[in-house]
Amino acid sequence: MNRQVDRKTLGSYLGSLALLGLAVFAGCDAPKAQFQPNLVYARSRLVESNEDLSKPEVRVQLEDVADILAALMGTPDEPRLPALPDIDWSPLLQLDQLQRAAGPVGSDESGTEHGLYRQHCVHCHGITGDGLGPTAPFLNPYPRDYRRGLFKFKSTPTTLPPTKDDLHRILREGIAGTAMPSFKVLTEDEREALVQYVTYLAIRGQIERALIYEISENLDPGQRLIDLTLKEKDPDLYQEQLDVVLAIAADTVSPWLEADSQMTEVPPPPENWNTPESIAEGKRLFFTSLASCSKCHGDLALGDGQTNDYDEWTKELQPGNPDALKEFLALGALEPRHILPRNLRKGVYRGGRRPVDLFWRIKNGIPGTPMPAASQELTNDQIWHLIAYVRSLPFDAIALPRQHKPSVPRERL
């Protein structure tokens, strides 16, 4: 059993003791797991600093978001996939797989396990996939918050979500140099259920953000996303409200359906790849303003060229503004940390150490972080030479005069 559920259950138990009379209503006295609202994003978009998120006109809007999300995507115990115009879920998500991953830990009569996500992931990634599990504050880097739909280590261009294979690879291999473990011990089938559940949580989180964004940019204070009482009173507005919500959901899902066919192709390396001359060419490029690698990774590639930046998740907390930051921390956000360019002399590659992994990292960048895609003017051969140089760095003693022994045996792609 994991700690979050324990703690919740205890909290709710005490709560319900004090509330015996009211206990018939399902509140947090029910031991059911609940998705948590994205209050940090709501705070950043819906109210000014020092304003109260629980003021009535904001509260009704946030309740709309919660109810619409439950209508579309269900609850942690009962996931759902909504019917959306022009969306066929089946290549991406299947309800029976989600049911296997969701819910409390256990197995049914046929022996099929469920609750995989709560068993294996929740103490880091949280019930909601917000990266706020009970272990999270102690980890560096923090566990991924899936709710932006942003994933770092993938084979598709920046703007697209990962492919299924990308997520499978993460679960098989884990993320070296971080707390994210390998789940090789699980079966392929179990990992499929988990990959789908991560995708489901990401899409749910993205729809939530898009609904909050819709409120912040297009609705007046107190104006509703969906008002069911309008059905008779103002059928046109009612229809428009439903259409807006459906469009938001469909727009969120469609890039996920596209991703599998948009993998960035990896051309074979040039003939002389990984030879001393290739490594030297990579080294030259590393410092040019064509590649700009040294600007962030530093002149010695120790990851010390740009050390005061933040990733996308952290920028939302306005880390440069102490007053705002305090409010976000009070809403449950984790203490901000700077994002550091990788120390390339350690030879630990979070996104995988195969040359093909490094090709994707350098060609497409690392989404959600400062690491940019290579310039469109950098040729694929040049990217390969950079990879050769990067892979030679751990073997290249900084203090010694640079002598490149043929250190890295040529690995198969």
Binding site: R7, L10, G11, S12, L14, G15, A18, L19, L22, F25, A26, G27, C28, D29, Q34, L39, R43, L53, S54, L62, E63, V65, A66, D67, I68, L69, A70, A71, R80, A83, L132, G149, T159, E217, L219, L228, L242, D243, V245, L246, D251, P255, T288, S289, L290, A291, S292, K295, C296, Q306, L329, A330, L331, G332, P367, P370, M371, P372, A373, Q376
Partner: protein, 316 residues
């Protein structure tokens, strides 16, 4: 719904008092509970609407434009101009802080001679067909999928984006240029999945990259450079071509606006987002909510002029 609110907060106040650790969720803030009955009702309504979409098909008749009009205008600022923030430039200073002069934020730029407010966005926010000759003059149609290059390119020099606020069509492709002797990266993070994100290295001395938004946003998307984190700009991608950014005199001009139909415009300024509050338009006080100017109907072949005055009260 009222009941759930009560239960939610009640539980947590007591829970917190006894336990001091998060009782029913992390952190403070309102406890938002799902109303499962309402969720069920919304689910049925959405399911019906999703099914209905296709079958009904027959779009209702919408009014069509009777011609094209021109909208020109100017935004003046009245009141105390806030002192511009000084940006922290701590990298590549020879290039990024030429002459050692302080580098100032462009968040709020007022012309000291004529009080024109620069970099305000004005655009048509009504949903209108894109690429339809009834709605779009041929000069727009010709540019619908153009590559924005030359003087329309998005250039950077001395570690500044030369256009701090920029607007373009979502169907066009933007050429991004780096006219500096140091490398930059251009990171665009739209708040909506309809608009493509990017983060790409742009080499020094005339290096180029391209970006095609692919979809529209109501709010300009932010543009940043991680190598020089003080650099910032905004780009508004729109499906239709009816937008303008005020120039250094606060002036703007939108040609060939569809006439004879009711349009909604929206007004945005970096510091305050969509302009909300009282402004003066052609001598009359109007109140804007989320930057909206509603029910605007222009006369064909006429030039309409909008003279705005924004006061410092708007920016408090």
């Amino acid at each position: 719904m009222r009941i759930r609110a009560l239960v939610g907060s009640g539980c947590c106040v007591l829970g917190a008092a006894i336990l001091a650790v998060a009782g029913c969720g992390p952190g403070a803030g309102p406890k938002i509970q799902v109303d499962l009955d309402r969720a069920d009702a919304i689910r049925s309504a959405l399911r019906r609407a999703a099914g209905a979409g296709e079958e009904e098909g027959g779009e209702e008749e919408v009014a069509e434009p009777t011609g094209f009009a021109t909208l020109v205008g100017r935004i003046r600022f009245e009141g105390t101009v806030p002192a511009p923030k000084q940006l922290r430039v701590d990298k590549d200073v020879e290039v990024c802080r030429p002459g050692g002069r302080p580098v100032l934020s462009q968040e709020f730029v007022v012309n000291s001679e004529n009080r024109g407010l620069k970099n305000v966005l004005i655009f048509v926010s009504s949903k209108i067909p894109s690429g339809d000759p009834k709605w779009e003059h041929e000069s727009y149609l010709a540019q619908r999928e153009a590559l924005l290059t030359g003087d329309k390119a998005f250039d950077q020099k001395a570690c500044r984006f030369l256009a701090h606020v920029y607007a373009m069509r979502s169907t066009q492709t933007l050429e991004i240029i780096n006219s500096d002797p140091v490398g930059h990266n251009v990171k665009i993070d739209p708040p909506t999945t309809k608009v493509a994100s990017t983060n790409v290295t742009v080499p020094a001395n005339g290096g180029k990259a391209t970006w095609k938004p692919g979809g529209e946003s109501n709010v300009p998307v932010s543009v940043a450079c991680n190598i020089h984190p003080w650099m910032s700009a905004y780009i508004l991608p729109r499906d239709n071509p009816f937008f303008a950014v005020t120039d250094e005199n606060g002036g703007f001009r939108i040609d060939y606006v569809p006439a004879g139909v009711e349009l909604e415009f929206r007004v945005w300024q970096e510091r305050i987002g969509f302009v909300s509050g009282s402004v003066t338009l052609n001598g009359q006080t109007i109140k804007l909510s989320k930057g909206r100017i509603k029910k605007v109907k222009l006369e064909p072949d006429q030039e309409t002029s909008w003279e705005f005055v924004f006061t410092d009260a708007l920016f408090d």
